[in-house]
C-alpha cells in the first residue's frame, strides 16, 4: 500500500495553479518535495491534508480518501509545519497534556524520551524556546503518537546546519520501521539529498520530475564542454544548461554524454537549479 497517492490533482487560484499533479509516496519511503519558493510545495501538502480543497483529482492517504475519510487516518499522521503551532504561553508539559487528549495512541514515555534526546525542557514556556527547539518540539509531538506517516512542510528552513542535521537523523531513525513513510518539502536540497529515497521536483505548480534518488545519480551526468559540442546533443537529453565565457556546463542523460567528454556525477541541488532554469 502506498502511504500517499495523488492522481490528477488540480487546484486553481487567481495567479497560481497546481496542475494535473500525480505523485506517490510508497510505504516505507521518504519522498522529498523540492521546489523554489512559490513552486507549490506547501499548497500540495495543504491539498493532501484537505486544508485546501482540490478542484479535481484524488488523494488517498494510507489507503483512505482525503476528502471523505481523512478523519479515520489522522491518528496515523504526524504533521510539522514551518512554524511551531503551539501557544507560546504553554510549556511542553502542557502541550503533552493537550496531545494526550487528542491522540488515542499518544505515548507519554516516548514523548519524554524525545524531549530528553532533543534536550528540551518540559517546564519552560514555548515562547522562550529558540526556533530550533520549537521545531524539535513539533517533531517530538508528531512522533509521539506512533504515526505511520510524517508530513513535514519546510520543517528545516531557517534552522542552523547542526539542528537540521539532527532533524534529518531523527527522520532517518523514524523510517527504520518498514511501514513508516515521510513526505518532506524543502527548498534546502542538501537536507533532502541525505534523507530521501525519492525526489519530486515541483516548478510553477507542476511536477517536472519524480524519480528514485539513486536513479537520478545513475541517469544524469554533469558535463563541461564547448557550445558546439553541447548543441550536438539531442535536446530531449539535456536537462539544463549554463553557457558562459569559459564554455558550457550542462546536465545530460548518461547515455547522451558525447564521446571524449567526461561526465561527472550530479548532485541533486545542481540538477534542481538547472531544471528550474531550463523550464524558465
Amino acid at each position: 500500500m502506498n502511504a500517499i497517492e495523488i492522481k490528477g490533482l488540480n487546484k486553481h487560484f487567481k495567479d497560481f495553479a497546481i496542475e494535473d499533479l500525480n505523485l506517490t509516496v510508497p510505504s516505507g519511503c521518504v519522498v522529498g518535495l523540492v521546489g523554489e519558493n512559490g513552486a507549490g510545495k506547501s499548497t500540495t501538502i495543504k491539498l493532501i491534508l484537505h486544508m485546501l480543497f482540490q478542484d479535481s483529482g484524488t488523494v488517498t492517504i494510507l489507503g483512505k480518501d482525503n476528502v471523505k475519510e481523512l478523519d479515520d487516518v489522522k491518528e496515523d499522521i504526524g504533521v510539522v509545519f514551518d512554524e511551531c503551532c503551539f501557544p507560546k504561553e504553554l510549556t511542553a508539559d502542557k502541550v503533552r497534556k493537550i496531545m494526550r487528549a487528542a491522540y488515542r495512541q499518544w505515548d507519554d514515555a516516548l514523548f519524554e524520551e524525545y524531549m530528553k534526546r532533543f534536550d528540551l525542557p518540559l517546564k519552560k514556556t514555548i515562547g522562550k524556546f529558540s526556533r530550533g527547539m520549537k521545531m524539535k518540539l513539533s517533531i517530538a509531538v508528531a512522533l509521539s503518537h506512533h504515526a505511520k506517516l510524517l508530513i513535514l512542510d519546510e520543517a528545516t528552513s531557517g534552522l542552523d546546519p547542526v539542528v537540521r542535521d539532527d532533524i534529518i537523523d531523527i527522520l532517518m531513525d523514524f523510517t527504520k520501521e518498514e511501514d513508516h513513510s515521510i513526505l518532506i518539502s524543502s527548498h534546502i536540497v542538501s537536507d533532502l539529498e541525505k534523507a530521501c529515497d525519492y525526489i519530486a521536483f515541483l516548478h510553477k505548480g507542476k511536477l517536472v520530475l519524480c524519480e528514485e534518488k539513486d536513479r537520478l545519480y545513475e541517469q544524469y551526468r554533469v558535463i563541461h564542454c564547448d557550445e558546439q559540442t553541447l548543441s550536438a546533443i539531442p535536446k530531449e537529453a539535456v536537462i539544463g544548461r549554463k553557457i558562459g565565457s569559459f564554455g558550457a556546463e550542462a546536465i545530460v542523460r548518461q547515455d547522451a554524454v558525447p564521446e571524449g567528454v567526461q561526465g561527472y556525477p550530479i548532485d541533486i541541488e545542481k540538477l534542481f537549479i538547472f531544471m528550474v532554469k531550463e523550464s524558465g
Binding site: K74, C84, I98
Partner: protein
C-alpha cells in the same frame, strides 16, 4: 473535542486571562457598590450589563485570535479533531462565558438593588435575561463571521454589522416613538410583563444561537487554510 477544551482551559489559567477576569469582577463590584439610589440606578445597571455582555464576547474572541495568530487553528485541522467539534467547543465555551458573566451580573444586580430600590425578583430576572440575551445576540452574529473569514476580517465585519444593527434598532425605536401605532406598541411593551418578554427574547435568541452554531459548522467546513 477534549483536546481543544483542554487547550482552552490551559490558556485561561494563564495569568493574563485570570487578571482580566479579576479586573472585570472588580469593576462590576465597584459599580454595584457605588450606585446612588436617586440618580444612577438605571444607568449603572445598563452600563454594567453592557460591559459584561461585551466581556462575554471578548474572551472567546481573544482565544480565536490567539488560535489563528500562533498557527494552532491550522494545526488543529491536522489533528484527530473534527471541524464540527472545534466549532462546537467554541460555542460551548462562549456559552460558558455568557453564563459566567451572567452570574457576575447577577451578583452585581442584587447588590445594586439591595443598596438602592430594594430587591425585586421580576426586575432582577428581567435585567439578567436581557443582558444574557445581549451576549447571545452578539456572539450569534460574531462567531459565524470569525469562522468564515478569520479573526481579522471577521471582527471588522462584526463591528460593521453590529453598528448597523444598533443603528437600525435606534431608528426603529425613533420611528415607533413618532408613529401613533408605534407608540401604542411601545406602551404595550411597557405595560406588559417584563420578565415574560425577556424570557421570550431569551428563547428567540437561544434559537438564533443554535442556528448560528449550525451555520458556523457549515462555514468552517468550507474554510480553507
Amino acid at each position: 473535542m477534549k483536546a481543544i477544551f483542554r487547550r482552552d482551559w490551559l490558556m485561561f489559567t494563564h495569568p493574563f486571562y485570570l487578571l482580566a477576569l479579576v479586573a472585570v469582577t472588580m469593576i462590576c463590584l465597584v459599580t454595584a457598590f457605588q450606585a446612588n439610589a436617586e440618580e444612577n440606578v438605571p444607568q449603572d445597571l445598563v452600563l454594567m450589563g453592557l460591559m459584561l455582555c461585551l466581556m462575554s464576547s471578548v474572551f472567546p474572541q481573544a482565544i480565536l485570535l490567539e488560535d489563528e495568530r500562533n498557527g494552532w487553528l491550522r494545526f488543529s485541522v491536522t489533528m484527530p479533531v473534527k471541524r464540527s467539534d472545534y466549532v462546537s467547543e467554541k460555542y460551548l465555551l462562549t456559552l460558558g462565558f455568557i453564563l459566567l458573566f451572567a452570574l457576575l451580573n447577577s451578583i452585581g444586580i442584587i447588590i445594586l438593588m439591595v443598596q438602592t430600590t430594594g430587591f425585586d425578583i421580576k426586575e432582577y430576572l428581567f435585567l439578567l435575561l436581557a443582558t444574557t440575551s445581549g451576549g447571545l445576540l452578539m456572539m450569534s452574529i460574531d462567531l459565524p463571521m470569525l469562522f468564515r473569514f478569520g479573526t481579522g476580517k471577521g471582527l471588522a465585519l462584526f463591528v460593521v454589522l453590529f453598528v448597523f444593527i444598533f443603528l437600525s434598532g435606534f431608528c426603529l425605536f425613533a420611528y415607533l416613538s413618532y408613529d401613533a401605532d408605534g407608540r401604542s406598541f411601545l406602551q404595550w411593551v411597557q405595560t406588559s410583563d417584563h420578565f415574560l418578554l425577556a424570557l421570550l427574547l431569551l428563547a428567540v435568541l437561544a434559537v438564533i444561537y443554535s442556528v448560528s452554531w449550525l451555520l458556523s459548522i457549515r462555514l468552517y467546513r468550507k474554510r480553507e487554510f
